[in-house]
Each structure stands twice: as C-alpha cells, then as structure tokens.
Amino acid sequence: MPPIFNEPFLAALLTGAIISALPLILAGLGEQMSERAGVMNIGLEGMMMAGALAGFAATLAGLGVWGGMLAGGLVGAAVSVIMVLFCVRQGMNQIIVGIAITLGATGVTSLMHNAWYSRTYPRLDAAEKIALPGLSQIPVLGPGLFTHHPATWAGLFVALVFAFVYRQTFLGLNLASAGEKPDALDAAGIDVTRTRSVAVMVAGAMAGLGGAYMAVIGSGIFVPHMTGGAGYIAIVLAMLARDRPLWVVGGALLFGFCLSATTALQVGGIEVPTDFIQMLPFLAVMAVLVLFGRNARLPRALGQPYHRGQR
C-alpha cells in the first residue's frame, strides 16, 4: 500500500484532478450565466459532447490544440442555438428541449464516431505541457499542479475574468434581472430575449470548450459518451454556486480531485474503495444541500419563458 503514495503518484493525482476539473469549470461557468439569466440548460451534456467531437476532429485535421478548442466552442454555441430558438424565443419547455439536445447530441456524436473513426481509432499526440517556472519546482505538489498545457491556465483565467466582469460591469445586474424579474429589465430598455440568448450561447460555447478540452487535452481520443455526466455535475455546481464564479472553480476542483483519485487508485490496484471515493463528491453535495439548502434559492424566473406584456 505505501509505495503508491510516492511523488509521481501524487503528481499524477493532482494533474488528473486539474484535468478533470477544467471541463467542469468551463461548462459550469457557462451554465451559471445561463441560469442567472433564467434559462435552465439541461442540454449542457449534449453541448459538451458536440464540443468534444468537434475539438477532436479539428485537432486531428491539423488545426492544433487551439484550433480544436476554438472548434469545440463554436460547435457548442451552434448547438445552443436550438435552445435559443425553441426556449428563449418561442418559450417551449426548457427541460424537455434540454433533454432532447443531450440525447440527440450524444447519439449523433456516437454515430459520427462510428462512421469516421471506428476502423482506425485515431489518437492525438499528447498536448504539450508547460511547466510554470518556479512554481512547478515546489516539491511534491509543484509538478502536478503547475505543469499543464497553456489552455488549462487560460481556462482558470476565464473564471477570474467572469468574476471580474460580473462585479465591475452591468453584466451581473442585467443577468440577475433577466432571471429574477425580466419585465423590469425590459421596462428599463434592455432586450430580455437578447440578454438570455447571449447567456445561453455563452453557456453553449463554454460547454463546447469544456468538451473539447476533455478530448483534445485530457485524453487525446474521442469515445462516445465520453463526458460521462460531467454536464450534469456542472449544472449542479452552477446551481450551488449561484452568482459566485469562484465557487464553481472550487467545487469543480473538489469533484476533479475525487474523479482523479478514483482513476489513480484503480491504477494502483485498489479496487473496492474507488466506489466510495466516486461517491464522495455527490455525498458532499447532499451534505451541502442538507446544511445550507435553505439558502440555495434559484432565480425566480428560472425556466419561465418571457413574453412582453404577459405577467
């Protein structure tokens, strides 16, 4: 038992934690924006799958890691247009359309994978990592925490940008109004539909980025169903974090650590406890709900379509 808790093991564990956390951070931040604006985006999982395939295909086609990320974001946003058209503009049931998007995107990406890659099973070259000078030299923790592809740092930086922008501009106020009392925002001269549409498309793009990160940087391959419920975890993170982007980051890191620990222990040959470790983050969420659930209220207009002149 002891020999597995050596330095390379810890490095792998921490690297894995950050790599599993990043898609959750990206998708969670997007969902947070969408939920604040009053749109529950259950289709997040599907948008991640679409982004994962797009990112993988683009990188495989020679566009590089950044090209892959860009493609993932664009395709994620494109899928979210369905949500915009059906739910934001026409006011259809967000949960039904969300489930439809997730099912459809999961199925279509699986079929595409079957049509394109099922004979060759291509694999991407491992994305190049950059060791942050100084920090990565910290013993034990350094290599795992601070040796990553720059896209990882960019992803974490985005979270800071969100936090800054919410606080320093009208964006936070406008989103909160669209989610809490859309007619007040409308009366103040801001287009509710446009605000919500943009929020939903940002969520789609962020989910697409998250999916692309999984495929391009995380694993280097594309497998059907590869997001494995990450979209739902991101939704939960966004709900619990409410309007605080940094909470999304914290929660995602916690989840990432547990996911990574599972893999690491499996590699270490310890079979049974992994089921318990897998359970930990979800148990943690339940504990949080039991303890602080009373305060975890959702935006008043969440899930409700907005039409001018109706109450």
Binding site: F170, L173, A176, K181, A184, G189, I190, T195, G309, R311
Partner: protein, 520 residues
C-alpha cells in the same frame, strides 16, 4: 394650483384595436403640468391600453400622441422615458434581489461600469424633494409595497420626467400608504409635474384628482374640469361621475359606496365563538394573538383594519388552514385541531381574497373546483374513487344558481374572468348548509358590478341565518354591511364597536391606536 395653459401630453383621437375588440375608440385627452388628472373606468374600459400606449409598449392604430403640442410616435418604453413620460404599473417592476440603487441604474448595456455613488446621491436628493425616506442600499424585497412604489415613482421621473402615469396606485397600499402617496403627489404637483391617476374607485378619483375624466367601453365619455370640480358639492360631483360611468343604469352613488347600514334585530344564538385564539402563518410570517369574539346567527361581524395586521392568518386559522392555539366553538361544538375538510363539512366556510393564488386550481375544470374542499368525501367519491356523475350534477346546480357565465362546468377556471371566478368560489363556500362564513376582502379586485353582486350575496346569506365574519380593509364596506365591527391592530383585536352613526369615528380611533384606556 393654477393649471398652465398648454398640456404636456395630449391624446388626439387615439384608436387601438385588438382582434375582436376596440380597446380605445377615438380617445382625446389633455394632461396638464402641475395637475392630477384622474382617469376613471371599470375593468375593460380601456385604461390599460391607454397606459401602454403612453408608456411606449404599444402604438395607436389611428390618431396621435402629442408631447408639447408636437405629434410623436413613442417607439419604446425607453423612448417614452426620454420624452419625460414615466409610468408606474399596478404590479411592481423592480428586481427584488437587487438594491434600490441597482434597480435605478438598470438599463445600461452590459459592458458599462455602474456608477453607484452618483446614483445614491441623486436618489437621496430626489427622495428628499418628494418627502420620501428610503435607503438606496436596501434590497427591494425587504421594502414594503408602499416604499417600493415610492422607489418606482422616483425612477419614473429619474430622467427629468414631466408626466407621471400611475396605474391603480392605491390597489396594494395601506391607508397610511395612500396618505403618503397623496402627500407625494402634492409635492410633485408643486414641482410642475403632471400626473395621470388611473383608478376605478370614484371616491379616490374625487379625493386626489384636480380633473376627472371617465372612460367607458373604450371611449372617453366626458369628465369634470378643475373649475367645475372645485365649485361642485362632493355629492353632486359623485352623482355626475356615476352618471358618466354607468349611464343612467342601475348603480346609484350609494350603491357604489357600499350602501347604508340598516340596524336589524338578531336572535341571540352564538353560532361562532372564538376565545383566546393565537396563530402564525408560516407562509407570510404574520401572526395574531389572543383574539376573542363571537358571531350570532345571521349576524355580520366586520373586522376592520389596515392590511397586514393579522387578519389573513386569523381567517386561515378559523378555516383550519394553519394551526392555532385557543378555542373555536362552532354551534356549540369545540373544533379542535386544524382540519379544513372537517370544518368545511361542519359548515365553517372561508372565502379567500386570493382567489387565483389559492382559492382555485386554474387548470382544473369548474366542476372539480366546486368540490375542492370535499376531496374523498361522499357522495362525490366512493371508496376513494371519484363519481363523475355526482360531481357534475352538484356543479351544474351551483353553476346555474350562482349565474356563472362560462361555456360549461368543464371549462377550466383559469379561463374565467375575475367576477366569474368569484362566483365559483362563493358557490363552493356557500353550498350545502353553511353556518359560518369568513370572507376575506370579498370585493378586492372586482369591478363595480361584481362588487355590488358580491355584497348583495353577503347580505342575503346573512339574512338567511348564516353567521358572517367580514374581513375587509375597505372601511366603507365594513360600515355598510356589518352589525358589529371589530378592529385589528398589530395582530390583536383592539376593540369591538356596535355599528351606528358613531361607528366610523370610533373605528377610526381604534385603528389609529387610541383605545379607550389610553384616552381616559
């Protein structure tokens, strides 16, 4: 106030049509600076459409709106604001989770930086000018409805507004709130702001309006100019307005005011006796304490008081909707713990004022709503399985007896108008053999015809021997209908008054907090 010669905003022959209805039919009106222009009309008279055109939400099909004499097409709510027309709607338009200052800033594109400090200072300035004290950093959800309205008025005039449109501004206010609103309007008039005061209460129109206009069936049917209004005795003005609103039809000025009280001889049987009742509503958090009173057979016991002084939880406790300590005795029987179905069955009924919110399930048919408080009981259910024929027969009988206007008993209640929903609600609560009925604000939100019908129904059932508890914030209504009147202040029943010529004064004193003990 001397009215300035030229109007700020004029409507010229404005017409607005919706599929099947002409909401506004060649309406011409002038709004002058420094003047309160009361606009009266029943529900459906076209008031809302008029407001939405002034606010830039809708555009007239024909005719024009002129600002300072020049015709303009008001393109959007924002355009209306920039023209100096600010609108305060009946329902609040503030984001509850944001602060007052944040609400005032709302409306900038997302990339701009909010300038909180400046807004705070300007808000304090404006608040002082209008005689209002609200903290700009308070979260809106923590303010009273009156305070929220004050914030909305300030916001409506934020960009130098010159015409303020108030849609039924008194509907949700306590008498104190109404008083404050009156004072605020006085200050605004002095600053030269024109005010459009929309209401369907004629007393309010006469209390606050310098000029009164009446809308009926989408048309402007006339009004009273300021010179005439000041010269005319109040009763004559009232008669004139009633004539304009209803033509020479049914309603007299007195009916509109609720009618006069006629003393009656009552049997001495106590039908309902409440002793030391205390309770608290988990939903609203408001409570009442140590309330004791009795109601005799056939008597109407009015409970007067400003909204939010514990009347609603008291009614809910009587109905068995919330738990309470103390004793409630119905016709000699102690009722024990809360149980709506049992109390309903025994004849203790509660007609709620929140008809759409809790009284009815909008998506269910009229027939089901008629038996909502008897679910599972015979003859409508047998061994837990519904018997549609029995339910339908019951509903059809009530449907006819209460003159509900709807295609049939299977129409979902949500499709009915407010007046018809009230009929269904009363039909349910009055069906079978009621002994005691608790009414909560029974005429709230109804138009005059339905107000009159409801009051007649209350009188008739009382005359048939039903003990009645009438909770109302409309003092005129309580005085017109009740035999005795209790007054609630801060959750306590502070006094009970026999109705009579002196009752109004006495109830007023109790409401103001002057109990006999203190006066002595």
């Amino acid at each position: 106030m001397t009215a300035a010669p030229s109007p700020v905003v004029s409507l010229r022959e404005v017409t607005k049509r919706f599929p099947g209805v002409i909401a506004n039919d060649r309406v011409s009106l002038d709004f002058f600076p420094g003047e309160v222009h009361a606009l009266l009309g029943e529900n459906g008279a076209g008031k809302s459409t008029l407001i939405s055109m002034l606010a830039g939400v809708q555009r007239p099909d024909e005719g024009e709106i002129a600002v300072d004499g020049a015709a303009v097409a008001i393109a959007s709510p924002r355009h209306a604001l920039s023209l100096g027309i600010g609108t305060v709607y009946q329902h609040r338009m503030l984001v509850p989770t944001l602060t007052v200052a944040e609400n005032l800033m709302l409306g900038a594109p997302w990339w701009r930086r909010p300038a909180l400090g400046g807004v705070r200072a300007r808000f304090r300035e404006a608040a002082a000018a209008f005689g209002v004290s609200v903290d700009p950093d308070a979260r809106v959800e923590n303010l009273s409805l009156g305070e929220q309205q004050q914030v909305e008025i300030i916001r409506a005039l934020w960009r130098g507004g010159r015409l303020l449109v108030l849609d039924e501004p008194t509907a949700m206010l306590s008498p104190k709130g109404v008083e404050e609103l009156g004072a605020m309007m006085g200050r605004m008039k002095a600053l030269g702001i024109g005010i459009v005061f929309i209401t369907h209460h004629l007393t309010e129109a006469l209390d606050f309006g310098d000029r009164v206009s009446v809308l009926r069936g989408g048309r402007s049917v006339g009004g009273i100019a300021p010179e005439t209004l000041t010269a005319l005795p109040r009763a004559d003005a009232m008669a004139e307005v009633v004539r304009l609103m209803f033509g020479t039809g049914l309603a007299s000025a007195e009916a509109a005011e609720g009618g006069a009280h006629v003393p009656r001889a009552l049997p001495n049987t106590k039908m309902l006796e409440v002793v030391g009742l205390s309770g608290r509503s988990p939903r609203s958090g408001s409570s009442f304490e140590d309330v004791s009173f009795h109601v005799r057979k056939g008597e109407i016991f009015g409970i007067a008081g400003v909204d939010g002084n514990g009347q609603t939880p008291l009614a809910e406790a009587l109905a068995g909707q919330i738990a309470a300590t103390g004793s409630v005795v119905l016709d000699g029987r102690e009722l024990g713990p809360a149980n709506v179905a049992l109390r309903y069955q025994l004849g203790l009924r509660y007609a709620t004022d929140d008809r759409n919110g809790e009284g009815m399930v909008g998506k269910l048919p009229i027939s089901t709503n008629m038996v909502l408080k008897e679910i599972g009981a015979a003859p409508f259910w047998r061994r837990g399985i519904e018997r549609r024929a029995a339910i339908d027969a019951h509903a059809s009988a009530l449907f006819a007896a209460h003159d509900v206007r709807a295609p049939g008993i299977h129409t979902p209640v949500g499709r009915l108008s407010g007046g018809n929903i009230q009929k269904v609600l009363l039909a349910r609560e009055l069906s079978g053999s009621p002994k005691v009925i608790v009414y909560s604000k029974p005429t709230h939100g109804l138009d005059l015809r339905n107000i009159e019908a409801t009051r007649r129904r209350i009188r008739e059932t009382a005359e048939a021997g039903v003990a009645t508890v009438l909770i109302s914030t409309d003092l005129g209504e309580v005085l017109a209908l009740s035999d005795r009147i209790g007054v609630m202040v801060r959750g306590r029943l502070v006094g009970i008054v026999e109705n009579g010529p002196e009752a109004r004064l006495e109830v007023g004193r109790l409401m103001a907090g002057i109990t006999e003990r203190e006066a002595a």
